[in-house]
Amino acid sequence: MLGTWFDDGLFERMERMRREMNQLMGAFRPFVGGGVFPAINIYDNGEAYIAQAELPGVDPREVDVTVTGNTLNVKGKREIQPAGDKAAYLRRERAAGEFNRAFKLPEAVDSGKVQAIFRNGILQVMMPRAEQAQARKVSIKAE
């Protein structure tokens, strides 16, 4: 019945399809040849693009964020600190390693005004659009 359709994750599949379509058609492009970690979400608040990535347990000092033109680059490493002395793993799901990810934005951002914040294991990069890319109201002179 209808219930089983939902259980099959129909909505989830459709949502994924919608997303993949957006990514195919969209102007946002992960850099080919770059790494795949971390997963990145990008938002637009009108004035800036905001990139977010989940990096739990990553030391902010071990993360490098650079913005050149319209390319965002996030690289660093995640280390798993040994929890306590002589502890043996019973279960291990958390991974450690290095990452290097590049991402192309559809338009130039003002690299001088880029701000990166690391809060509760989430990296947030706020990238204001470059001045010339911002919509500007042009006044018309009457003669």
Binding site: I42, Y43, A87, L90, R94, A95, G121
Partner: protein, 133 residues
């Protein structure tokens, strides 16, 4: 060769409802966890990105430890333009052995990682016995 491996993206694990409905609408994922054991305690480490300490709940009931965490919604004016991961709260349960001293469990949340220390009861701790010669 470098001994550093590159991190892979793993899809967040959705909570399986097993036919039932989840109680919290905004709890959607099973967090990745490490579990370690030493002589004194069991240590549970969970990745909870985006969780503030006040939004984390650790509960022990009838020998089952459940952690439930919510994440803040994004600001309303943020329009998603490209998405690779989903956002939602976390929940996971573990069955505790009888040897855990429930009263002495301690928790620490830092940089989106929860570390729970579950001390063993005194009588269950490993003790080295000196052999007299």
């Amino acid at each position: 060769m470098s001994d550093k491996k590159s991190l892979e993206v793993s899809k967040k694990k959705s909570i399986s409802t097993g036919g039932g409905e989840p109680i919290h609408q905004d709890v959607r994922f099973v967090p990745d966890c490490d579990v370690l054991e030493n002589d004194e305690a069991i240590i549970l480490v969970a990745d909870l990105p985006g969780v503030r300490p006040e939004n984390l709940d650790v509960d022990v009931r009838e020998g089952v430890l459940t952690l439930t965490a919510k994440v803040d919604p994004l600001p309303e004016q943020w329009r998603p333009v490209y998405e690779e991961y989903d956002i939602g709260g976390y929940q996971r349960s573990f069955t505790l052995g009888e040897k855990i001293d429930v009263q002495k469990i301690s928790a620490r949340l830092k940089n989106g990682v929860l570390t729970l220390t579950l001390p063993k009861q005194e009588m269950h701790r490993t003790r080295k016995i000196e052999v007299q010669t």
